[in-house]
Amino acid sequence: MTPRILEVRKGVLKKNDELAAELRARFRAAGVFTVNLVSSPGAGKTLLLERTLAALADEGARPAALVGDPETDNDARRLARSGVPVRQIQTHGVCHLEAAMVGNNLAQWDLAGFDYLFIENVGNLVCTTSYDLGEALRVVFLAVTEGEDKPLKYPGLFNSADAAVVSKCDLAAACEFDRDAARTNLHAVRPGLPILETSGKTGTGMSEWLAYLRDRRRAFLESGKAW
């Protein structure tokens, strides 16, 4: 008997995409600019975020953070030192955040009370690629200790990013980090990608990073007026 071929044409991550679209609409309505931070483990997301939350709070902005971690709540405790609202998402071994996990952890938070919501994703350069969290901005980290060719090894994630942070710049000389090669590789997989160079340790590049966030938030709010 010849088989019948039935067209399905459905997105495998349709449910996640739908939830992410709902979240995006909620963030939009509340005027909260949401940033998804992705990288390999240990690239420096938490340290830079710690400084970022403190600096934004200092200038009178109202940031908040969600942090995904497979098992511990160490990162959330580190971030909570900045005094801004922080919540841990324990993924229980899952290697990426999904829109549902974000949604579940927003309960009892009044989003309208935030200007920025940072979501520190689980350290993973593959699995985080296809999961939309409803963010307005996806930032991928590349630590100078990781080698310049990371973008070529993980083009999917780097391509999906809206900006790149080259982190741990204080270690660049010690690692013989080839800055031009890194920039070339980032732009090979994502032409035009804005690149910020930072050190969470010394604070180098913080003012450019903060200025970038402010600009993007302003553009986000402006674009919302057209809705």
Binding site: R4, V8, G11, V94, T129, P155, N159, A188, P191
Partner: protein
């Protein structure tokens, strides 16, 4: 490794399609996976074997069609495939562009029912 959860989603979607079609035996499930989607076809195929155990899809085969990167070149004003996934530029005029029109797919295309 998130291919197991991806495989479970594939099984769920294919099972629904089978039910909508009034049942039968599924021989083949076709999925389309873009090279930028962050899913490894071999890992997905491996996980599929695990995910179908004890489901109506047991015994079926997963066929993965890999979708290439397709860019829209702003200079030539047409779609084209870059020379490779790590050099997103127009193969005709060399313009680098981030206007990706294909390569992120992650879709269940069809099922074959006997």
């Amino acid at each position: 490794m998130h291919e197991l959860s991806i495989a479970r989603n594939v099984v769920e979607i294919a099972t629904e399609a089978l039910r909508d079609a009034g049942g039968g035996t599924v021989s083949v499930v076709r999925v389309r996976v873009g090279v930028l989607a962050g899913v490894a076809p071999e890992a997905l195929t491996f996980c599929y074997e695990i995910a179908i155990r004890g489901t109506p899809l047991e015994g079926s085969q997963l066929l993965v069609e890999v979708a290439p990167v397709v860019l829209h070149c702003p200079t030539c004003d047409r779609d084209a495939q870059p020379p490779d996934i790590c050099h997103l530029e127009c193969p005709v005029c060399g313009t680098a562009t981030a206007d990706v029109r294909g390569g992120r797919e992650l879709e269940v295309e069809s099922i074959e029912v006997i």
